[in-house]
């Protein structure tokens, strides 16, 4: 497949690994933000190709993993209501809530449907005027433009049987939270290439300056990740702390202006609780007042639902890079993809799931 296969070329990977080794003179800790990058690193063993001076720390960029447990509980509550068609991206279906997950609701007879695009949910609402169609609008900034368009379309078509359960999260506040933590070891970042395709890099420059960390916007294939690491290592070795763009085939520095405009029209920035981490100010998106009638939490009266995490799950430590999945006493024993204690074990982009699948025992 074009623009995929050539970025997995083994000779190129080897060259970049050699270049990284040649450039490295001291230990460095680099965090890759995005769960998709974590997955590629573990799947292709990219961290094992690096000199041992370079430590890759897995970041909190897994929207499935950080969706607060009470949002799952609200989704489960809504999906169980008679007459509701609950639409979701596939990744969310097995994320454990306090009692159950959406997949269980489906197996118990709830009309839970996996959709490829939020527009599929809008189409379902048009086709089924007698049913309430609810779309689970989660993700980072990458999916926000699509979800915003779905709500805007529903409003344009005056669909009164469509609503969205919104729980978006933003990346830059999470980076600040990681850097502000007293136990932070991260010295440089690989930023998420698809998030930045939407947002551009304007919010990353102040972070690079304030915390003096290099930030390299990076793609997801092996060549991308290794080139991103090389660029980051060079900055660290040279004492630079700039924003660079490895993923220039997709990322424009100004981002996608049409997408940002649509997001700004439909969403506003709010404080958001991150599962396992806690509340981070100005780190989430919610519907604006003008779109309040499409808010599923209001429509179904589930705003009051709260929840606690299972005590044994250390997802928060893993998501902030303080611990690795193997450090968790429950890993692979009481917590597996089939019976997860938390989200990173069930999400396809979760660090725990990646380790479970590709690296069962410690290495």
């Amino acid at each position: 497949m074009k623009y995929v296969d050539e970025y997995r070329d083994a000779a190129g990977v080897r060259q970049l690994a050699d270049a990284i080794r040649a450039a490295t003179t001291q230990p460095w800790n680099i965090m890759e933000i995005c769960g998709g990058q974590t997955h590629a690193i573990i799947r292709f063993g990219l961290d094992e190709m690096l000199p041992r001076e370079i430590t890759l720390i897995h970041g909190p960029g897994c929207p499935v993993c950080v969706t607060p447990i009470e949002i799952i509980d609200k989704a489960v509550a809504i999906a169980g209501r008679p007459g509701v068609i609950f639409c979701s991206f596939g990744d969310m279906l097995r994320v454990p809530g306090s009692q159950k997950d959406l997949f269980t609701v489906k197996s118990e007879g709830g009309d839970v449907r996996i959709v490829y695009s939020p527009m599929d949910a809008v189409a379902l609402a048009r086709k089924n005027p007698e049913r309430q169609v609810v779309f689970f609008a989660v993700g980072f900034e990458t999916t926000a433009p699509a979800n915003a368009m779905a709500v805007a379309q529903a409003a344009k078509l005056a669909l009164d049987n469509f609503s969205a359960l919104v729980s978006h999260v933003l990346v830059p506040p999470a980076i600040r939270a990681v850097l502000s933590s007293p136990s932070n070891r991260v010295q440089g970042f690989l930023a998420a290439g698809h998030v930045c395709t939407v947002t551009g890099v304007s919010e990353y420059r102040p972070i690079a300056e304030q915390y003096r960390v290099p930030i390299v916007v990076t793609g997801f294939e092996p060549l991308d990740i290794l080139q991103g690491v090389l660029m980051c290592v060079k900055q660290l070795e040279q004492g630079r702390h700039e924003v660079e763009n490895q993923y220039a085939r997709s990322v424009r520095l100004e981002g996608n202006l049409a997408a940002l405009r649509q997001m700004a029209e439909v969403f506003q920035i709010v404080p958001r609780k991150w599962r396992g981490i806690g509340q981070i100010p100005a780190s989430g998106l919610a519907l604006r007042q003008s779109y309040a009638k499409y808010d599923a939490q209001r429509r179904f009266g589930v705003e009051h639902i709260t929840a606690e995490e299972p005590a044994e799950c250390i997802a928060g430590e893993v998501l902030q890079g303080h611990k690795k999945p193997h450090d968790c006493p429950a890993f692979g024993l009481r917590c597996t993809p089939e019976r997860p204690l938390g989200a990173p074990m069930v999400s396809s982009e979760g660090a725990c799931a990646a380790y479970y699948r590709y690296r069962k025992r410690g290495h």
Partner: protein, 149 residues
């Protein structure tokens, strides 16, 4: 990556490049058909108004979010060629086993770890300047996403 599996059990977290093969409008929205290795999907083009038939676009959850810039896409290969021309290290490499010419996932494959410590620097073997993006482009209205009053 299995495309059939992805489109059957779609994930929000996967952005895939595909070729735009057809454009049309639907409910006042620009739409297109994008081809991913033989599979055709309907994709909303509202966020890539510049994309033309024949272009490659990056698609997330049924929306094209960028047009793939072919010149930029080739940058890393130019870099690798320069590195290859400068370096004599054809045979050392970093000691991992590869299958064919494409990197394979490590499941079940014994991966020989690179030698411990930092390899001795070879003269002139390091890469030339990596691509950077200087400049300060205009950013969208910083007030744009602030909360409602």
């Amino acid at each position: 990556m299995s495309l059939c599996k992805h489109f059957k059990d779609p994930l929000m977290c996967l952005g895939i490049p595909g070729k735009l093969v057809e454009v049309h409008a639907q409910d006042d929205l620009p739409m297109g058909k994008v081809e991913f290795g033989g599979i055709l999907k309907d994709v909303c083009l509202a966020y890539t108004p510049e994309a033309q038939v024949g272009d490659y676009v990056l698609v997330h959850v049924g929306f094209a979010i960028s047009r793939i810039d072919e010149a930029e896409a080739n940058e890393v290969f130019s870099l690798l060629k320069e590195m290859g021309d400068l370096s004599e290290s054809e045979e050392e490499g970093s000691g991992f086993r590869v299958q064919g010419s494409a990197l394979e996932p490590t499941v079940g494959v014994a991966v020989a770890l690179p030698p411990p410590g930092i390899a001795a620097k070879t003269g002139g073997g390091s890469a030339t300047a990596t691509p950077t993006q200087p400049g300060n482009p205009s950013s969208p209205d910083p007030q744009a996403l602030t909360p409602d009053p």
